[in-house]
């Protein structure tokens, strides 16, 4: 045997091996592509199915048979209206669990790739059903409450943590679906304030869980979560304000639409100002000044992007800012005493929060649901797609929501989801690289560097935008 190592498969009398297949890198990539396609199909059909059932099917059935069953026309109309406006909730409720399963799987596989491991390989093809199995396991686990815990708060906290995540998800629906009729209620004029305001509610339930567990580690975790949320909410909101200054709107759909028309229009590249940078070498003085101001603004935008990523990583309690559940110090932080579905809810909500943070970053900086192509090309694409319009039989006045349903939403959703997952991969990449900060380092970084920096950026940005006349 020429090799330095030998394999004892052939030399053992006692332990015969079953054949084991390990995917090559190309096979892995292909398998993951297939998985993503399957997942997208499941998510889209679930979301569309849920949405259409509530926005059209149930109202239609009501209008068709409600009066015959003896209901008054007014009750039929009002019930149908309530059902139709529940469509976004149902859609979000179907998307979140499926999405979280896929995100956890993605995280485990890509983190393994970055840290030279294989990740889950055993459950299902190439380990792709691992998170599904985990979720099932969590469903069947016993739900324990510590003897001296505050049972009410202890049980309430996971639900209160999950609820804001679900609500905050909704404004993203109107961005993803290109302002589709059935999600009309989610197109909010105060979109960003809504997202920020509700997203920070979750922290309260972390403190609640930490206190109610009657466990010192949980309490420490909860307190840390609160201090971290307070510290990093400020730079995040300040970064948002800078972007609002530039876009002139707090409506997520409008912010997204203001970045349509190519890569250079994205806010991370100064909303079109990056095209002025070659003017630095122009002949006239005014031109050069324009180039310089644009360069300043674009670099500020890139800096804002980095700040936003940092602050939102801290907001969703991810490595390197996961001190609320620092497992080397606090066992598992605020969810130390949680088991079964309580833990699952926390887990689900954390990944949903991460998804939302990635979504907000994609809307604010990466052009939202718009392809990086020119406006004319995009409009041509949209008009081609809108030929495949679905005409559902309309009844009553509710179904005006479904007036112009076409397949544009599939394209915009795909683009948006791709951007969100790119941001998610960035978060995984950061997780694989950076070590956890200490509590005092975290506070120092937030208060002494990020907040002054963001304030200065807002100040300079306001002046630059005024000078540039935008």
């Amino acid at each position: 045997m020429s090799s330095k190592f030998i394999n004892n498969n052939l030399l053992s009398n006692y332990h015969p091996r079953t054949k084991y297949y390990h995917y090559t890198a190309l096979g892995q990539a292909f398998a993951f592509f297939v998985l993503a396609a399957v997942w997208i199909t499941i998510v889209f059909s679930a979301a569309a199915g849920g949405g259409i059932t509530f926005a059209w099917l149930l109202p239609w059935v009501l209008f068709k048979f409600g009066v015959e069953l003896g209901l008054s026309a007014e009750i039929v109309r009002q019930t149908a209206e309530v059902l139709a406006y529940l469509a976004p909730t149902v859609t979000v409720a179907t998307i979140i669990p499926v999405n979280a399963l896929f995100m956890v799987l993605c995280e485990r596989k890509f983190l393994a790739l970055l840290t030279v491991r294989t990740g889950p390989t055993d459950v299902g093809p190439n380990g792709f059903l691992q998170t599904l199995a985990d979720a099932l396991k969590l469903l069947f686990k016993e739900d324990t409450t510590p003897a001296k815990a505050d049972a009410l708060l202890f049980t309430l906290a996971p639900a209160l943590f999950f609820a804001p995540a679900m609500v905050v998800f909704m404004p993203l629906l109107s961005v993803a679906s290109n302002n589709l009729g059935i999600f009309a209620t989610t197109n909010l004029d105060i979109g960003l304030i809504f997202v920020i305001g509700l997203a920070s509610l979750g922290t309260m339930s972390l403190v609640m869980e930490g206190w109610a567990s009657n466990n010192k580690y949980s309490l420490m975790g909860g307190l840390r979560a609160a201090s971290q949320a307070i510290s990093y909410e400020i730079p995040m909101v300040l970064a948002l304000i800078a972007i609002i200054l530039m876009s002139g709107s707090m409506n997520l759909v409008e912010v997204s639409d203001s970045q349509a028309g190519g890569l250079s229009m994205w806010n991370i590249f100064g909303n079109g100002l990056i095209e002025n940078i070659p003017n630095l070498f122009a002949s006239t003085q005014a031109s050069r000044e324009l180039g310089l101001l644009s360069l300043g603004l674009v670099s500020l935008c890139v800096l804002l992007f980095i700040i936003f990523i940092t602050a939102s990583t801290a907001e969703v309690n991810r490595i390197p800012f996961d001190i609320p559940e620092a497992e080397s110090e606090l066992v598992s932080g605020f969810n130390t005493e949680c088991s079964g579905m309580k833990f699952a809810l926390f887990f689900l909500a954390e990944y949903t929060n991460l998804f939302i943070a990635s979504g907000v970053a994609a809307v604010l900086f990466l052009g939202g649901s718009h392809l990086p192509i020119s406006l004319a090309a995009e409009n041509a694409l949209y008009s081609n797609l809108s030929h495949i319009a679905i005409s559902l039989p309309l009844v009553g006045d509710i179904n005006g929501l479904l007036a112009d349903v076409n397949l544009v939403w599939v394209l915009t959703s795909l683009v948006f989801i791709t951007k969100i997952y790119l941001m998610f991969l960035l978060a995984i990449w950061i997780r694989a690289t950076l070590p956890r900060l200490r509590q005092d380092q975290l506070m120092e970084f937030g208060w002494k560097y990020l907040i002054p920096l963001t304030l200065a950026i807002i100040f300079i940005m306001t002046i630059l935008l005024e000078v540039l006349g935008r």
Binding site: M1, I6, L11, N13, H15, T18, V116, R117, T118, Y449
Partner: protein
Amino acid sequence: MNILEATTKTVDGLVNIAKGMYTVVKHTTRDPITTAYPHTMPELYPRSRHRLALNVDPDTGEHLCIACKQCERVCPDACISVIPHDTVKAKSTQFYIDHGLCMFCGLCTEVCPTDCIINTVDFEMSEETREDLVYDIRKLTLTQSQSREYFKLKEYKTKSQKEAEKAAAAAAKAAEAPAAIDPAKEEACKVTLQKMLAKVKAGV
């Protein structure tokens, strides 16, 4: 801290983070360092010391144990018992090793004159009871092909190879001609002898 220092520090930090992230991304091209152990066996060195086994002659298939009991004597844990054959010389009827006691020091394999007892590379020896860890001669003895493999791995020589080498050495010795003695030296020897004999006579 002035503005310039803060700016330098910030830029420095960002550059360092970028360097770290680049290092991490470079690792994606490597093969996984972990192995899926129950499915794939780890690769071991041929001389790694695990489960004990008894070799047979790779050529003839006869058992190599000559019941010399050297392994039994050297074993620090006293986990080996050899029971010699009643009538036939250099043959063992039974051979017990308690793997529950064995600490895999490998001393028995070093003293074995016939390279019979060896450490194999199989380390999976879980059993349901402690009694099952006491292996008898039937369980210990390897097949002829396994023995051949181990002889190759551990670079042992088989009986026939040893005999062939011995024969070759003898032939080489025979072929070597006796060296001629230098006449001058022989003369000197004779002179010395005469002197010594003279001394003896004088002494008497």
